[in-house]
Symmetry: C2
Subunit: 225 residues, 2 copies
């Protein structure tokens, strides 16, 4: 058995490369250099080469990478070449908008249903997705082999809902709810806090207002887990 130890930033950059490569392929570009790819994503070409060499992609020195080949390999590596059923828990504003987010289908994610406890919402549709009860969700999860869930519920129910999901066999949870979810230990958890981006953007403006001149730092990262 092979072990992979890949830092999250690398995986996230692979995701960005794949998007750029898709756009290049649509435009009929056959070859791209690490400098061009780095430029499109906003990072140094050395990082691009290092990332890709981790997966055996070396390109041709002085020529570059074959766009279609590289795209196909990254797609396979990230599992973008297959269809991944997901459920969204919470059919409020956040859950509804996530159901409508166009990027998901494009990336091979298929929202099977939204789950909610509100009887007013159960049975309704959001865009073309049905809102179901937990009882129905359990059936759908088994039927479709759903292993991933998106959490968009109020802060005080996050932990309980996450436990419920893992009990139903969910292996990975992407938490958009406004609280950091820890565990359950059986599932992989990824927290996404949108306000972090706002604070980041505001930081510079705020220093400007206080007469301090911030210097741009090209270190990029996020510490959410």
């Amino acid at each position: 058995m092979k072990f992979f130890k890949v830092p999250e930033p690398t995986i996230m950059r692979l995701s960005l490369y794949s998007r750029i490569l898709e756009q290049l392929e649509e435009r009929g570009v056959p070859i791209i250099s690490s400098v061009e790819l780095g430029d499109a994503v906003g990072i140094n070409s050395g990082v691009v080469r290092k990332d890709l060499s981790m997966f055996g992609e070396f390109g041709v020195r002085g020529v570059g990478y074959n766009v279609r080949e590289l795209r196909d390999n990254i797609r396979k590596l990230l599992g973008q070449d297959r269809n991944w059923p997901v459920i969204i828990v919470g059919a409020g504003h956040l859950g509804s908008s996530l159901a409508a987010y166009p990027g998901f289908r494009q990336r091979g994610f298929d929202v099977v249903a939204l789950v909610d406890t509100d009887p007013e919402k159960i049975g309704s549709t959001i865009i073309d997705k049905i809102v179901v009860s937990w009882e129905e969700a359990e059936k759908l999860i088994k039927e479709h082999g759903v292993r991933m869930a998106i959490l968009a519920v109020p802060a005080d129910s996050v932990q309980a809902v996450a436990q419920q999901l893992t009990d139903l066999g969910i292996e990975a949870i992407l938490n958009f709810s406004p609280i950091i979810l820890k565990g359950p230990s059986k599932a992989q958890v990824q927290n996404v806090d949108l306000t972090v981006y706002f604070d980041l953007m505001r930081f510079t403006q705020n220093l400007n207002d206080n007469g301090l001149r911030p210097q741009a730092s090209n270190v990029r990262g996020i510490a959410v887990r």
Copy 2:
């Protein structure tokens, strides 16, 4: 004039600390150690101490940080103690959901209006926010001193809209549209690509399916700019 060179990961962690500290204050907790704070955010206590020492917050050895004091100082540093008017460009699903995102108001962001070019949408309200034309947006930006904008428009209009915004005096743009926005150089730009988080979550599942066992890496980061 003082220069600040603060890495983005630090600012993002400050944003996370401030949320945890708010929750602690609500629960009446007076003191927190760097270990506890690190644990709540999911990082090493050494990183917490280093982050806070950058801004002159040293805590008391063997005791910890005063929760309210630390929260107030981080709020000031991040500008969370003031009201920041923002406009959202694009009144589609994404723009509407961002308008409804409860975290923004809580963090001192005030959505003045949504801007759209669709005559069917102009004049309507989303939650309690009005959808306006670009002409009206221009007036509102001046009136309210809006310096930040959120982009939620189709990929092919991102670049033009960003230019239009900076021409109207917008200084910072948070781009949720499904394409990486580069420049305009006068404005600070932050790209947020939600599909990156999905790829990250799927990566582990995909390796599992292929009989490879991924090892967790505690390096956390994101390369979007």
